[in-house]
Structure formats: C-alpha cells, structure tokens
Amino acid sequence: MSDQDEKSSDQVVITILSKTEFLKIVRRVIETYFQSQQFQADVIRQVVLAVDEACSNVIKYAYKMDGSKEIRVSLSGVSEGIKISIRDYGDKPDMDTVKPRDLNKVRPGGLGIHLIQSVMDEVTYDLSPDLGTCLMLFKRYPETGGTAP
C-alpha cells in the first residue's frame, strides 16, 4: 500500500455513533462492498467479523461504552486489495496489551485481536493522530475471481 493509493474513486465512508446496536450497519456495508468486489462468501463473513471486532474494541476500550462518540469506517479498493480504516477519537490503545491471547487457555473474552489478525492480511495501528487511533486493515483480492478496480 502506498500513499498514492489513498484516494480511490470507489471509496466508501460511513460514520456511526459508538452504539453497539449500530454495529450491524457497519456489517451490512462491509458485506455489500466485498460482495461487489467478487470475494467468496466465506471470506466476506470473516472480513465482516474482523471489522466488527475492531469496532467493538473501539466502543469497549477507546470509548469505554460511551455511545455518543464517532467511529468512521472507510473502504477503498487499491491495486492489490481492499483497504479498510477504522478511525476513533478516544483513548489510544496500550500496545503492550494489544496481543492475541493463547487459544489453548479456554476462557471467555480476549478473542477479538486474534480474529482480526487471523482474517486480515495486514493490520496496522496508526497512533499518530493527536486524538484517537486509526486502525488500518488490508485484504488482498483472491487469486482468482477478485477484480482490481
């Protein structure tokens, strides 16, 4: 991914309030966008899950369940795949705690990071904004079937 890829003619941007009941709106947008890019159904389900987990983490950790804040999700097709960014304006994550947990220890919770990293080809946290974080995710087009925009 390069800076030249930042602007895309097929960019979709959605901003929601940080309410858990709005997560389904983000899921529908991700699902529709990836369907339009010819990804297979199982891959789409996984990407929807990864983005949903990322937004859930924003609500839980960046905004501490305050439903009055904003989450901006943007999608854009670049030459090799789909870029997704999830921008919040809350507390920055402590990167020492942003780690997938040991799956051999069966316990409730702590799965979100593992799911995101398992599904996406690239996961990058941009902590440079003065306020909040931008989580950048990237999913490559499938070797067959996907089409670059």
Binding site: K24, V106, S118
Partner: protein, 113 residues
C-alpha cells in the same frame, strides 16, 4: 432486537434453547441472561440450537464459553447443535471445535442422554 430466543423443555430437566438472529455485542447479554436462567433452574441438560444464528462475534463466543464453564461446575450437560455457517466460521478461527460437544441434530444430541 437482533436476537430471538425460544426455550423448550423437551423432557424433565432437558432444555433446548434455540437462538435466531445476530449474536453480537448488543445482543449477547440477552443470551447470557437466558442461559443463566436455565443454569439456575435445576436443569440437567442444556442444548443450544444455533442453526438460525446468522452472525456471531467474540462476545457470543464468550457467552457460550461461560455457559459451558458454569455447566461443568454445576454438573450440567451443555451441548451445541447444528452450528450455522457463521457460527462454524468463528469456531474454526477461535479453534473451539474440540472444546464443546457439538452435534449435527437435536435428535443425536438427545439420544445419549
């Protein structure tokens, strides 16, 4: 409301909880509360029927793991039946398929009880 639940007492002490819809951060607590009611009702067997779950996130998984762990403490059999594609996806990603007792049909889940 993104999740609908139905509880049926198949026979004395054997409850089937059928879940329909999207189990996510906004609805998993409803499932948790329903499971808590069953866990505290003198139940012997809880069967959670998941074929009509169109989406499940990690909070849904956490709810099922809590249900399993509470059941083990209380000596209750806790079984999952007919995982939908969406549920199978997250079970595979979370490597939970061997943690739960999973059956393809309600009949098979009940047969050995």
């Amino acid at each position: 409301m993104s999740v609908i639940m139905e509880v049926k007492e198949q026979k004395k002490g054997l409850y089937i909880l059928s879940v329909q819809g999207e189990v996510d951060m906004s609805s998993s607590n409803d499932v948790r509360q329903q499971l808590a009611l069953l866990l505290n009702a003198g139940t012997a067997v809880i069967i959670v029927h998941l074929v009509r779950v169109s989406y499940m996130d990690s909070s849904g998984i956490a709810t099922l793991v809590e249900g399993l762990q509470q059941s083990m403490k209380l000596g209750i059999l806790f079984r999952l039946v007919e995982l939908s594609d969406a549920v199978q996806d997250i079970f595979k990603l979370a490597r939970l398929e061997s943690v739960f007792s999973i059956y393809p049909t309600i009949e098979e889940a009940i047969k050995e009880v």
